[in-house]
Amino acid sequence: MAALGRVAGLLAAAALALPLAGCWSSNELNNRAFVSVIVVDRTDEGIELTLGIPLTNRLIPGQTGGTGGGGNQRPTAFVTRSGVSLEDALQKIQGDIPRRVAFGQTHSIVMGERFVREGIEPVLEFVARNPFLRLNTNLFMVNGLAKSKVADMPDSFERFFVTVLNGYVRNHQILSTTVKDLMFDKANGGDGALPILRFDGAMPKSGAGPSVGTSGCVLLRKGKLAALLTPEEASAVRVVTGQLKQYTYSIQSPTDGRNIGFYTTSFHMEIKPYRTKSGLGIFVRSTSHVGIIASDSTIDLNKPANIERLEQEIKLMADKTVQRVLEQSKAAETDAFNFARYISVQYPREWKKIKGNWRAYYKDRLEVNVDSVIQLRRVGSSTESLRTSFLDDGTPEKP
């Protein structure tokens, strides 16, 4: 009987703990509409919310369109409603969908340019409050109206648009900015960089909508668009945020001005604040290992001096780009790279003093020191270009 009493006690304890779990209502899979991507635009009427919802009933194995995209039907539905606020629009969508909208699978939020210009604060608020939306949801921007482009895009590589976005982030092909990144501290809240999705012209075959690609990025200040950066500068942003994993680029050889192609094999970013006489500075140092992927030049790579010259050349280019981006962010008065985090950790006392007007401090007084360490590790199996070793036999080429 003692055992029975124990079991009863345990059952009672479990029953008491039930309300804490918050998982009362079960909800079948097929009663849920899993939102894979949220698209937010601002229109004259207010906010236009579009939810991308995979249509699992078009993906039933062994039935029509089973493998997805097999038929003409797209396996994703985009439902759009407008409202004065996000919640308003969401309620309208929920009212028109026979299933319950579930945000548990949302990984990406795509915003239109106008919405970003006027401030992404509603989205941040929405994500921060909703228990099912994660703080590491990725944010993207699209030039122009996002909805029309996203909804019209044919899903060429993947079944779902969101899989494309996830792939970009997973493979480090795009700057990854999550909601959490914009909500670090009040001093630089809403400051950050937002990757831009590019939609190229119509597809050649089907005449359907444009295909998606990666592009530059924008700098945000207090959640509003503050500066537009080119794709090249966007990669510098990725350098500073430590997200660049592999990158291919070319520079001109210091000896004969011909192109030499490089690729980055390993990349390490170090950001360190320091004290100066008048205040604080920040040291931005990247260390990258590069290899040569192609060479048109006749430069002799057996000579250490030449290697050093190449390294110097790359360093100059890297320093210049990073410097340019940092200056732009200073000019826009946005701490897009979250330097505040480093300073607050390292010099909490100083941080307390300056955090009240941190953006101004960042713009005018923070000393930024950029350094790139380039180590040329691989020059390839041949030290000479293919042309020099095989094609160029000394006879003058016919014009």
């Binding site: 055992a3 124990r6 079991v7 345990l10 059952l11 479990a14 703990a17 039930l18 779990a21 998982c23 079960s26 909800n27 079948e28 899979l29 097929n30 849920r32 899993f34 894979s36 995979p54 699992t56 009933n57 993906l59 039933i60 194995p61 062994g62 579930a102 548990g104 699978q105 990984h107 099912f132 079944r159 779902f160 969101v162 899989t163 996830n166």
Partner: protein
Amino acid sequence: MSTFKNAAAAASGDCDDYPVTSGLEERLAWFKRSFSACSDVVFYEFAIGGGLRCALIYLREMFDYRDAEEHLLEPLLTASGDWDGDVSRLFSEHRLPMSGCRTLTEPDAAMAAILDGSGLLLADGDQRLLELPFAKFEKRAVEEAPNESVIRGPREAFVESLDTNLTLIRRRIRSRHLKTERLLIGRETRTAVILIYMDNICPSSLVREMKRRIGCIDIDGVLGSNYIEEAIADSPSSPFPQIQYTERPDTVAASLLEGRISIVVDNTPITLLAPVSFYMMLQSAEDYYQPFIAASWIRWIRFVFLATSLLLPSFYIAITTFHPEMIPFNLLISVSASREVVPFPALMEALMMEIAFEALREASVRIPKSIGQAVSIIGALIIGTAAVQAGIVSAAMVIIVSLTGIASFIIPNFDLGLSFRLLRFPMMLLAGAFGIFGIACGMILIYVHMLNLQSFGTPYLSPIAPQVTSAIKDTLFRAPWWHMLRRPPTAAAVNRIRQLRSARSWVKQEGEDAE
């Protein structure tokens, strides 16, 4: 008459009216009365040299009368030249040309001897009765273990004959320490039950406790070892088996060497082993015959599929109905798409399929072999393919149910597999009602229950809880034989040494020689 009124008399009924006389007629008449309407009892009367009248009572087809004729009756009937008429010499002197004969005086013992298959010789002029142990009856030959087959190990399995089973064990442990104590259980069946243990390894307290528990059994019949098992188990209402069963003599021998007791019951090939822990039932005899690395790996596989067999359907229900955000997006789409046309909630679907699978499994055991194939076709085709194509169940659920089914057969001990099959259903209900929280609650309940279980003083979850570090080498892993220097904690504390030195100590010696 009072001499016959002892406890054993209860077994064969009332013997009060047995005529205590040396006359043949009265006694024979009494036996005939006792065995009235027993068509298989043979009363054979004859006379030997000097006209001494004798009678032989035996059970037809259980007593080898040809042997008796050859070894006893013929010498008695023919070589009677020197017979001087002294009946007592027939019993007292060892004139009989064969051994094993006992002289009996008590009628209940005589009755029992007849029922055991012996012959009973009565002679005119002597009160004593002679038991002729020529019992012989049809028995099954020793065959390969049907339920615990192995690839590398010995193939012999127990049969229904107690004596054969005993020899199978004795042939494996030729030690005087191997004790075989015989008990009779069952008022009517008088089933022989033998306790086997190693008196130098098995703790004597365990033997005493076993005898005490078995001593309480007073039942009319024992037809299988489970009659004993249920009577002596510590917590009979638990779903978990607390006594191991086996049909392999090598498993019994190994257990005896670890200080456990075996109970062999006549007329069943299934012997019992006690005490047992949960982890022992996850071990198979094969583990010890295979290379230890492979055996350890297979043990881990068993642990994994043990959890699978208990939790997979409930986990599926919980995740799909409560926590779909846990599923990777692409998997979710696949699962969701396959569920799209299914008209039932996940819990309902899972219960339906699991119960159908249980039925299929039960049917395949009970069904006559000749139509077994038809059932498997029906099961695989209808319940599997057709149900999915008809959109009644989802393909994902069929995969889950089949995987669970396979997992439950990976557990070597069938009883343990049964209890996990049973516990799966409450777990599914909990998952359907409360999600993963319900599963966690169910797991805690099961765990607490298992912690409270004991088998003859051995904690059910030992050697993990309570932890016995030295025994883990044969629980989570299967340590190589040269590493098992000590016996597990089931053995008596005074005799834990299995090997005096490692069987691979020659490696060290080799180095010494070289020096």
